[in-house]
Subunit: 297 residues, 4 copies
């Protein structure tokens, strides 16, 4: 039986960042060609401020002789010298490979429900390694988590260090690739933030940098803004200052009470977080200092 080489299962994604200098694209694309690959989609971006060069290249094999995993290993091995020559920060993955995502949640479960639904219908390709909550299982009584492990890890000021240690243990024992704070209303410590650098995504319920901190919808109501928003960003030790992945807004009016903002906000939050996570899992988000490069098209 012949393999459909254009299927996502046969597509590989190369991403890299390095200082810009002549010859990068030529070297990378020549290597892919010589190794028997065909470029399907590519984005390259030169950040003139930092002098860094960002690339994302999707490609598939021209012939079908090798198994997907063999292909990937061969391509990775072949790319090592190119990456070394240009000092690249790089990764190469198969689009078929699903990563393991841990979902952290507090009392409000609309983002959790939304991500689980998108996973269930196959929209966001991921395995959920665990659901971790600082509220008991009964808070989510109406959810059927299937065979996803649920961990109730309550937290107080006194137990925070221990609770975070438990989270970190779970991340390691479940081989979690990505942690999502799906309206998890606890500030991670500097230590845990640093450990999860670049692979922990938070949804903040405001259009940052407006209304940082607590109760942003109440802040927005008090200020009388005409649009509210949400922001998905990587978690860093610097609270609400991590690199922004995606934002969106919706119009409100004077007649919207704080609870209306909360309601409208739920829709924004869940779609912004879902987009950010999907892009992250598709290797479309490359960190650039305090900012991100997002190759969307």
């Amino acid at each position: 039986m012949s393999i459909d080489l254009s299927s996502p299962g046969c597509q590989l994604v190369l991403t890299f960042v390095c200082q810009n200098r002549p010859g990068i694209v030529a070297a990378a694309s020549t290597l892919l060609f010589e190794e028997g690959f065909n470029v399907l989609e590519a984005h390259q971006y030169d950040d003139q401020e930092s002098g860094r060069f960002f690339a994302r290249i999707t490609f598939n094999p021209v012939r079908d002789e090798r198994a997907a995993s063999v292909l990937l290993e061969a391509a990775r091995a072949a790319f090592v010298p190119v990456a070394a020559r240009f000092g690249m920060d790089w990764a190469m993955r198969s689009q078929a490979e699903t990563r393991r995502v841990m979902l952290l949640v507090s009392r409000f479960d609309h983002c959790l429900a939304d991500l689980l639904y998108r996973r269930q219908i196959g929209e966001i390709p991921m395995e959920v390694s665990a659901i971790v909550a600082n509220y008991p299982r009964s808070t989510y009584a109406h959810h059927d988590f299937g065979d996803i492990p649920f961990h109730y890890l309550p937290v107080t000021r006194e137990t925070k260090a221990q609770q975070e240690a438990a989270i970190w243990d779970l991340v390691q024992s479940t081989q979690t690739d990505v942690v999502v704070l799906a309206r998890y209303m606890q500030v991670l410590s500097d230590e845990l933030s640093t450990r999860l650098a670049g692979r922990c995504i938070n949804i903040h319920h405001s259009f940052l940098p407006g209304f940082k901190g607590a109760r942003p919808y109440h802040q927005a109501h008090a200020r009388g803004v005409k649009l509210i928003g949400a922001t998905a960003h990587y978690v860093t030790p610097d609270l609400d200052e991590g690199p922004i992945i995606e934002q969106d807004v919706e119009r409100i009016t004077h007649a919207d009470k704080p609870e209306d903002l909360v309601r409208k906000g739920r829709d924004i939050e869940r779609r912004v977080l879902a987009r950010a996570l999907a892009w992250h899992l598709a290797d479309r988000v490359l960190p650039n200092g305090r900012k991100t490069v997002v190759f969307k098209d």
Copy 2:
């Protein structure tokens, strides 16, 4: 010749604000009915936080016996006792009456050009009482201001008080109703802000309260946000904190440089300012403390 009573020229607008208590709408609408008017459109809003009641009612005469100005005077006189009974802050105007607007501008003239164009084609009904700039006429060489008076009022730290006195004199001598800071890059003093309270509209080139102060597009670029915006608000002594009338945003990407934000921002600024001014002139914006009630539909 019979008058078209449904034409905007025959429409009157009543707006009022008062403490909410039973009977307000009944009293106002009964009065209008008894005076021979027909309600065309009405908005009423009870702000449960402040206990204040806001209304905007558009109406026209049922019969055409009286001239527009007579009608208006009669309706005003008849409404006085109702307004007194409920302690209303109120106004009644003819939709046909165009107000006098002074445009203040600095080096960037895209908002100025836009407002003049909208006036010229009749989209925003207003008379421009004067254009005041802290740059010389030659900065706007390509503009034909027609018979609109242009005043060059340069300003330095030392001459600010004098310059503002000159602006205030102009406001009075030209019978200006509304002052628009159409990218006028000077902070008004507390004194002038207070004098123009409720009738001076500024366009701020950020989505407030994010990126207050100077060079907001550069701030937005540095922070790596994914949407930029603009905010039209009433000017108050508290800089960038005045009641917001309208805001809008547009999507940007990592590839947008500060100059791209400036370019995209121009489009947002001019449409946000134009909407805010048009709504203000149509008596659709009612101040509510630090916020506004905007009756849009």
Copy 3:
């Protein structure tokens, strides 16, 4: 124990439509005042094309002597003569009264899942009288419907009349107020459409009137549009031509395949349908021939 008169449970909503003539608002608001009510929010709109006048008034009792149901009956009885005088089509309801909604669904369950979630967290106040599907229960295996009755009513060309009769029986026996076609991929017959006139809402997965009929996302992809949308409308015998309640869009690019449009479309569909249903249940949507008046603020 004293009742909180400002709570939604004490709020009543009056909606009416009639030919415009002087005195309508005066009569309605005077009646409400005399009956001991206080106006909280009001919208009135005069459609000059049709000459019809539309109103929605929210009000609550000034004193708390009577039970909510007694209040409502008294207000209704008092309003009868006013309604008769102006030939109004009218309704008066308590905001506390939740209506019974039947959800019809086919294979794609994202709108179903979304509406059930919004009901569960109390965002959309409704009772779900039944879920009716032309796919078996196993299609929705992952959903816990709780105590909501599920009815599998398969349909073929031959059995359509019978199946629709069964739906209609269910509507009646369950005292269903509103029927929602939550991606129910069957065209209702003229007969059933007519029976459900004004209380059956469909979500169409295109920005109507573009891409009527089947497979709209594939049509959109073939045409190369840059935005896709969804439309919630009342069902009428005239397919895809019913009065539009709400629409929204999202940006797409050349790189989006039909399956990407389907994915992006799910987000638009569910939020457009949820808004339309919420507004309908809040008596904010008044039919106006082929169109609707939606009092949003």
Copy 4:
């Protein structure tokens, strides 16, 4: 004096389309590297439906020894064999080179005014080769066209062939690169459409494919849609069916009359047309049969 090699004046843009097969990107980027260029930004897209491969690459010289025009000629000459090998449809241009744009207009001049303003402040880099109108110069009395030639070419059913011949003569004699129908309310003949294929952009005042043909805002009002839009597309003999470059929408309500739609539409039209033209001039739009590939970021 040393040249700033990162300035737009030194940037070249290569665009090409060909059948996808392995080695394209490797060949193109290797050639650029060997010729002494550095890639700044690149987009590549493989359209799996048509099997065509689209690319846009921005690059600048690594060293500054040669003049810009010499560089461009050398790069073009060097690229010829690569283009031939892959059967490419291709173009290479300097970003500094401004193209000549002819603006056609009828009675409504908001798009004309907008494009002239954007050119004047340097936002859209172009030379306006001529303004052609089927209304006399006095229609635009308030506009100062500076040294841009204005041609009044009235048209009737009888004189259409002649008038179009005059337009075509002008296009040739003025060395016009791009023709913009800036609310030019005449349908071009098949002949002229064909002659201008791929370089004539129209703005249609509806969200195509909804409301094709005449008076789209009135159609939209009659249908009761909740959003209106505008569409910029390449002109083809098949009316309103040309490849879409850009679209946008704005929200309307039941209270908007046809004239309100016209007013709101002006804002949409002018920004959609400006974006489409700017992208076209920056070689960001590649035709793909009935559709377009737009490399935006």
